[in-house]
């Protein structure tokens, strides 16, 4: 770890001043400190934003505003979240461990970096960590990597769960920066790698996440299904976030987002369009999967994700729409 200084910002403006002066923001530090140990991040100045007061959950019209510093544990335990946006609580509780969730924050979680082994190993080529060096995962061990939204430069996934739920819930990221406040739909927050994988998201230099806004609750059936190698404390191989409503035996409305399938939390409106107005059936679910996976491309070890996504989607849709899907 490089030597660094650590200051505490008293409020958002204080934090913004520090960011403007070149500091790196640290909240829970559950990812950043790891990156600093490996010198994948090597800031010489950190500003802690833990004392900025951005740790409140408050009503926002019919929706909810979750401060950037609200811990994952507090967010998932909030009565309003659990009642009206259970998808978000489920997704958060599917991630990490209680110790990490006590520490990790809403804003920080959005910014967590990939788990690609080539990104974390500084002996390896990685365009995300060291632009221009190449992508070690292409042609390497890429079991956990993306099959959608990849580029020749990078196939790493965004690994988290919370953002996948936020994406299905049409949430927005609230920021404050040198040029004022912005509201960024979650679907526009994360960046596909293209030819510049080094930038994970669309935050501007000096900009700070102040919170996340959830729109009015949908009242639909909400399911977060995380498929992983062990029962806890593992990143998703594929996850599905569904918010779905039925009417007269047909799918009236649905929002679907996918984690660890693409390079970013993945939502494809065409999949939802294929489902809305239709009577649920295994054949329909297959058709939706065809749409979802029409451009999917595996890189060897992760080929299975294409099959897995299809089956995970079917399981989720069956659970949400069929009264007793398990029975033949």
């Amino acid at each position: 770890m490089k030597a660094f200084t650590l200051d505490h910002a008293a409020d958002a403006q204080d934090a913004l001043d520090a960011l403007g002066a070149g500091a790196t923001a640290i909240a829970g530090g559950t990812n950043l400190v790891d990156l600093m140990k490996l010198q994948i991040a090597a800031p010489d100045r950190l500003v802690s934003i833990r004392r900025t007061g951005l740790d409140q959950i408050a009503p926002d019209g019919e929706g909810l505003r979750i401060g950037a510093l609200v811990t994952n544990a507090d967010c998932a335990a909030d009565g309003r979240v659990r009642r009206d946006w259970p998808l978000l609580a489920q997704a958060i509780l599917a991630g990490a461990s209680p110790q990490l969730r006590n520490r990790a924050t809403t804003g920080g979680n959005l910014c967590q970096r990939t788990r690609c082994g080539y990104f974390y190993d500084t002996t390896q080529a990685c365009n995300k960590r060291a632009p221009g060096t190449g992508c070690g995962a292409l042609g390497g061990f890429n079991r956990i990597h993306a099959v959608l939204g990849t580029s020749d430069a990078c196939i790493a996934t965004y690994p988290g769960d919370m953002a996948v739920a936020l994406l299905a819930l049409d949430a927005e990221v609230l920021t404050q920066g040198p040029d004022g406040e912005r509201t960024i739909p979650v679907g526009q927050f994360h960046r596909q790698p293209g030819d510049d994988p080094s930038r994970d998201n669309t935050l501007l230099p000096g900009e700070l996440i102040t919170g996340v806004r959830l729109p009015a609750p949908s009242g639909g059936m909400q399911i977060y299904r995380k498929v992983r190698d062990r029962a806890s404390y593992a990143f998703a191989l594929v996850s599905v976030a569904a918010d779905l409503a039925m009417e007269d035996g047909r799918i009236a409305r649905c929002a679907l987002a996918f984690g660890s399938l693409g390079t970013v939390p993945w939502r494809d409106r065409a999949v939802e369009q294929a489902l809305v107005g239709e009577t649920p059936s295994p054949a329909l679910f297959d058709k939706a999967a065809d749409v979802l996976l029409r451009d999917a491309r595996g890189f060897g070890e992760n080929d299975f994700k294409i099959v897995l996504a299809r089956r995970a989607l079917a399981a989720t849709l069956a659970e949400a729409t069929l009264s007793n899907p398990a029975k033949g």
């Binding site: 079991r143 190698d229 062990r230 191989l237």
Partner: protein
């Protein structure tokens, strides 16, 4: 003091002395005496010693698979804050020493044999400075001109028969396979494993003139002393190792490894104590791996389900010249019959970190495959898998003809089946579905060779009626402190509070060390022998025959006399050193611990996720010394079995040989949520051939076959037989039944 038995354990001690003593400590589920220290943070683990003026060292690992170090650019790093030295000494080691090696010749670290091999150590005032400098150190390499392959399956890989592993052949297996009523010929593979001990490898080295003191995390101190002395070209009696608490080893701390040598060399060079702690990633990359295996199992059975032919051939790997080869067929040699046999292990020479002992070398992966193949045979015959196993237990070891010292396999299968409810298992797959989950049940035998190794221990009976047990035996979290105290208390008739146990210091008599499941029976036997000698003296002082002597609650009685033990000792403590060495019983008998595993799994009909829902294990390993620590050993082994079955796999990038998943985030050991209710049944027996305690090893038994039971349960659940461990969902989903198809199954 003359005892009725020599040090060499040449004939079974059938006096079963521990059944005739009266203190009632043996077998009791006593707590580990050091437990409160550990959970309260008061036990000093190796990295936690605060030595004045201690500097910090961090290893620098090679970033190429093979070649030579052309230049180390030390100067820029030496200019960094706090940095004192960059050392690449000839005494440092490229490879970890194997267990019980007792030697570790200095190896020139300017030659790189595998990706991640330590090539230097950077020493600084603080750990952060040292790590920063280690990352900054530029090393230039010349790649090897004739590299050995990175992949054991490469056609270029040289394949050898290991020197200590002769094939076992009998009859005509090919003919037996051709003519058998039922024949199974299957290939399985298992991946490399990491020991993944909780505590990383660490050493603090301190020189006092020409004497070296190491505080570190090791399993076998008396061997480790010789190994470090060998590296440094000093006499073993100049080395003292202190390791009272070790946070797990699982084989990875059997032999001296890079950080210990680097710390000693650095401390000598800078004239200050040096601490070297490996990072988690370094432990994974450098210390020790279990070899991956490719195993072919052939089973030929007659119409009645009797095995007439058995083949078990394995390909494993290691670095060139390394003696160790994962002894995959070790339990196959004695477990099941079949006169037509071929058992063989070959080793491919490749460039990866040293392969060595990891959690029950041999049986852990050998049994899981053999037992999965046995399930395939049972299915082919249409026979209950328990019945198939019971029908194939030979009277003596095939080919050799050696008798078994004891074998509780049938008892374990029966007791386990009863407790588990095996009679409710559906014999054919895909019969039980609960919601989205297929439910299945599987069984496997457990077997692990029993070993005794030389051990010594000193027991002192004090005038105040307390006793002290001293040996350099380690306690790696397994219960050595508890068990050795119980044996001494039992033999000397003292309440456990009156017995103190001191371990983990090479100034004490050389115990067995922790490894190969032999620590408890070997060092425990030495403690028992020391106590026997003390009992002889007490009998004489009391004035009775040794056989008449009864010791209980601090009182000696016999020959109509009775006196407090303290009174017999008077002013001078009675100290005796007990010793045991393996003798003829090791050759005259086939000695092994046995058991049976039962697993219930749920396989997700859509995603193929497998979760173990419950497990039962029944085990017979001679006398139970402490029912709690023995149960914990079995339980822990079964947890490793879950890992071996479902998640654990070292993933190497075959382009440059680097280990991709070199931390606990991506190398998946089971977490709490993966571990269901596990029932452990301990079957008491007496095995006098194994040790004077009539006890056998239990440390590793719980893993030896456990993964096979889980694999068999998966097949029973969903009908898919995957022959490549771990059984991750990607290997299942293509073959699962249509989750929406009308089930032939009944819904539970």
């Amino acid at each position: 003091m003359r005892l009725p038995f020599s040090d060499m354990y040449n004939r079974p001690d059938e006096r079963n002395l521990l059944d005739r003593t009266g203190q009632g400590l043996i077998g009791k589920p006593l707590d580990r005496p050091e437990g409160p220290l550990k959970v309260s943070g008061a036990a000093t683990y190796s990295a936690e010693w605060n030595l004045p003026n201690c500097a910090e060292g961090v290893l620098v690992l090679a970033s190429i698979p093979q070649g030579t170090v052309r230049e180390i650019h030390a100067d820029p790093v030496l200019a960094m804050p706090g940095v004192m030295a960059v050392i690449a000494d000839k005494a440092m080691v490229r490879r970890s020493a194997q267990g019980t090696a007792g030697k570790a010749p200095a190896q020139d670290v300017t030659t790189v044999e595998y990706f991640g091999q330590p090539v230097a150590v950077v020493v600084a005032e603080t750990f952060e400075q040292a790590r920063d400098a280690a990352l900054a150190l530029r090393v230039d390499y010349d790649p090897a001109e004739k590299p050995v392959p990175l992949d054991p399956e490469s056609p270029q890989a040289e394949v050898e028969t290991p020197s200590d592993s002769k094939p076992i052949e009998g009859g005509d297996l090919d003919a037996a396979m051709r003519e058998a009523a039922f024949a199974i010929d299957v290939s399985y593979d298992t991946p490399g494993h990491a020991s993944a001990a909780m505590e990383p490898h660490v050493t603090i080295a301190e020189w006092q003139d020409d004497r070296l003191i190491l505080r570190g995390s090791y399993q076998m101190l008396s061997h480790n002393v010789k190994e470090i002395a060998d590296c440094l070209s000093i006499k073993p009696d100049k080395v003292r190792i202190i390791a009272p608490y070790v946070g797990g080893g699982f084989g990875s701390k059997l032999g001296i490894t890079h950080e210990a040598v680097a710390a000693a060399v650095a401390a000598r060079e800078i004239g200050r104590p040096v601490r070297v702690v490996m990072t988690r990633q370094q432990v994974f990359q450098t210390v020790m791996r279990r070899s991956e295996t490719r195993q072919r199992v052939r089973l030929a059975a007659d119409a009645g389900g009797r095995i007439v032919g058995l083949g078990h051939e394995a390909l494993v790997s290691n670095l060139p010249q390394e003696d160790f080869a994962e002894p995959v067929t070790q339990a196959t040699e004695f477990l099941y019959g079949g006169d037509n046999r071929l058992l063989k292990v070959e080793v491919a020479r490749i460039s990866r970190l040293t392969a060595g002992s990891v959690r029950a070398p041999g049986e852990a992966v050998g049994m899981q495959v053999l037992e999965a193949a046995m399930d395939e045979l049972a299915e082919a015959i249409g026979m209950d898998p328990i019945e198939l196993r019971k029908r194939n237990l030979p009277a003596t070891v095939p080919v050799e003809g050696t008798p078994y010292s004891s074998r509780m396999l049938v008892e374990a299968l029966e007791a386990g089946a009863k407790a588990f409810g095996w009679d409710r298992r559906q014999p054919t797959p895909c019969q039980t579905r609960e919601g989205d989950w297929w439910i299945g049940h599987g069984v496997a035998s457990a077997a692990r060779v029993n070993m005794m190794v030389p051990a010594e221990a000193r027991v002192t009976l004090n005038p105040d009626g307390s006793a002290l047990v001293e040996t350099d035996q380690t306690d790696i979290g397994t219960g050595s402190y508890a068990i050795l105290g119980q044996i001494a208390g039992e033999m000397l008739g003292l309440p456990i509070e009156r017995v103190k146990v001191e371990l983990g210091d090479t100034r004490l008599p050389a115990g067995a060390g922790s490894g190969g499941s032999f620590g408890a029976i070997s060092t425990g036997s030495a403690v028992m022998r020391a106590c026997e000698a003390i009992r002889e003296t007490l009998a004489k002082k009391l004035g009775c025959e040794a056989e008449e002597l009864q010791l209980k609650d601090g009182v000696a009685s016999g020959g109509g006399k009775q006196q407090p033990i303290a009174g017999l000792v008077q002013e001078k403590p009675l100290a005796e050193t007990g010793s045991i060495k393996p003798g003829k019983t090791a050759k005259d008998f086939s000695q092994a611990s046995y058991g049976a595993f039962f697993a219930e799994v749920a396989v997700h009909a859509f995603t193929g996720e497998t979760r173990v829902r419950r497990m039962t294990g029944a085990f017979g390993f001679g006398r139970v010394l402490n029912a709690k620590t023995a149960r914990s050993q079995c339980l822990g082994g079964m947890v490793w079995g879950i890992g071996s079955a479902l998640t654990e796999e070292l993933a190497f990038d075959l382009r440059d040989g680097h280990l991709v998943n070199h931390d606990l985030a991506e190398y998946h050991v089971p977490v709490h949520a993966d571990v269901p209710a596990i029932e452990v049944i301990l079957l008491e027996e007496r095995d006098a051939a194994a040790s004077p305690l009539q006890a056998k090893g239990v440390g590793e038994l719980g893993i030896c076959g456990a993964a096979g039971a889980i694999a068999n349960a998966i097949h029973n659940a969903c009908g898919v037989r995957v022959r490549s461990f771990p059984l991750t969902l990607d290997k299942l989903i293509d073959q699962l039944p249509d989750p929406f198809a009308p089930a032939t199954a009944k819904v539970a």
